[in-house]
């Protein structure tokens, strides 16, 4: 066998070894598990945003691969316990202190704090977002002067918190970057606008409204920005189809991208 093939195999074995090791660590108490033979999933903590079933995208019963009963729970990284490490603790302390000074209970405003992949995320209760943003901008120890816009994410499986608005704030003074995350349910898609604090977010909030239908209360002119004004629906929600038509290539029909096999 040639060199590359060996390397590939080695990589595979290494991967497997790691997986089983992890599963062993996270094993819950006996009896909790429905079936002893099924290995538990890695990382049982965190926010569940959905459950994926099967493989190869065959959801209509035509799956003959034997992978049809595969169940995968999708979890985003969960809450992190202190210390967060580096300057994260300093920012968290300062933010909590500043909120307390304003008569806010920090644990009411900050739902949870996640440190993942070297970045810190503060999950903020949506009603407190403008206050928190103003504090982050104005407090001398925090000074997050630049808001790099808001990004919407739609998690249809995250019941009651389907729509997420993610803000990245940059501090030029201290050279730091943090992330704020706010959620709203599909039934009540409202988040307060931060345009008062960061005028830079004007167009970005319009963009998120345009694509996700998330209404930013208090925005000076919340209209569609990318799509035509009379467009129906919100294109980047997960239930909005991509569209497209099948294409014929050398006699075969190639389905449109959203109809192709997806490997869930």
């Amino acid at each position: 066998m040639s060199e590359k093939g060996e390397q590939g195999e080695k990589g595979q074995q290494g991967g497997k070894g790691e997986q089983t090791g992890k599963a062993g660590q996270d094993r819950p108490a006996e009896g909790d598990r429905p079936d002893e033979r099924i290995p538990v999933q890695r990382g049982d903590t965190g926010e569940v945003i959905g459950v994926r079933r099967g493989m190869f995208g065959a959801n209509n019963g035509g799956d003959t691969t034997g992978y049809g009963r595969l169940v995968r729970t999708v979890r985003l990284p969960g809450e992190t316990a202190r210390p967060y490490g580096g300057w994260f603790d300093e920012v968290a302390d300062e933010l909590e202190g500043a909120l307390e000074e304003q008569g806010l209970v920090p644990s009411n405003a900050i739902e949870k704090t996640v440190v993942d992949r070297g970045q810190i995320t503060f999950h903020i209760a949506r009603e407190h977002l403008p206050r928190v943003a103003r504090t982050l901008r104005d407090d001398p120890a925090l000074r997050f002067e630049l808001c790099t816009g808001v990004s919407g994410v739609h998690y249809p499986g995250d019941k009651g918190r389907e729509l997420h608005a993610v803000y990245h704030l940059r501090s030029v003074t201290h050279g730091r970057l943090i992330r704020l995350e706010v959620t709203a349910p599909d039934a009540d898609p409202h988040v307060p606008s931060v345009v008062d604090v960061y005028p830079a977010n004007n167009w970005h909030e319009r963009e998120v409204y345009d694509f996700f239908g998330l209404v930013f209360d208090g925005h000076p002119a919340l209209t569609r920005i990318m799509m035509p004004d009379d467009w129906q629906g919100f294109p980047q929600r997960k239930d909005y189809p991509l569209g497209g038509i099948p294409v014929e290539y050398k006699g075969a029909q190639i389905p449109s991208p959203d109809q192709r096999r997806s490997y869930s």
Partner: protein, 458 residues
Amino acid sequence: MSTSESPTSPGGPGKTARSPRSTEGPRETTEGPVYTVTGGDWDEVVTAARKTDDEHIVVNMGPQHPSTHGVLRLILEIDGETVTEARAGIGYLHTGIEKNLEFRNWTQATTFVTRMDYLMPLFNETVYCLGVERLLGIEDQIPDRATTLRVLLMELNRISSHLVFIATGGMELGATTVAIFGFRDREMILDIFELITGLRMNHAYVRPGGLAQDLPPGAVDQVREFVKKMRKNLTEYDKLVVGSPAYKARLQDVGHLDLTGCMALGVTGPVLRAAGLPHDLRKSDPYCGYETYDFEVPTVDTCDAYGRLLLRLEEMRQSLRIIEQCLDRLEPGPVMVADKKIAWPAQLALGPDGLGNSLDHIKKIMGTSMEALIHHFKLVTEGFRVPPGQAYAAIESPRGELGAHVVSDGGTRPYRVHFRDPSFHNLQSMAAMCEGGQVADVIVAVASIDPVMGGVDR
């Protein structure tokens, strides 16, 4: 160009089907008289406008206008020659790239993102790949050669982007010599890109984990040659542009935006540095090893279009410095991560018919190794999985902070990718720069922001 005039409602209801020469009189609406003018003689428009004592005219500049950088629509309310209110209408070039990415695997996405801001394709690719690599947790495993080449290509791309800024900006002022010079020099960079990536634009060369392929023979020499030539050519711009009284008269004190305005509007890049703040992510939040390169962040404090021009010229010089350092530290080695579960297996090779599969590789997977064939097939059709979570990567593009917010649900496709495009953010400052100025200065102000609509609309 169409003009609609109304004393009370700019851009009010005036879209009924009427003959092109219906400039005789106003149409009474509930919001006052509305004049609709399409085509016809400009004199008639002027006479019709003179008949009323109201001087305010709403002019749609664009979306198809030679000097608005693609399909940008500027809605200007003008009083005589003065712009009293300016708004930008965008979205004419929206292509749904972010949505499309959710239906392709992680590697295929580079082919889409490279087309967003078409003047900085390599920045788009790199920021996306940095985001994915952060999600994968393989940032430390990217080979040095790949990182150095990324820096090299990004700096070349920065020069080509600034050259287009100077060329098109000059064209908009009627300085056609500058336009020709700019595109002439940019052509040299595009030739280098074609040699290295196979394409002049839309490269899809930077891939999650590294690069699509290594440098072809002769590339280093050609880049060295270019640096030498560009050093010489840059002085031509100094002579043509910097000292030119015509340029100074058109650019100085035009499109004023001070530091406070920049910070409030989230403006980054040359516009911010022309307001005196040396904020450059290459220095303040280094990525791709920029902290190890020796270069300076130029600033000027004029806050106007002229300062932004000088600044970009100086940035090109600094980029040349970085390119030389890249060439000096290039060492042979891999350009893709060693992890075969992520690295694209094909080892693409440049053949006589363009970029294609390497014949050696095909021979191996088809002839000798069944496992390698399976592995190749799985990786190409299914792609690799990325652990759930989100990451934000930001780099300093020619226009400012380019950010990618990448979210994964653990699948083989991105769950959501959002790009914080600097053009999109910076274009918001158009109103602040233009209001109160002359109509002719709107062109200069917009050109000094250097928006690229492919990036604005994505």
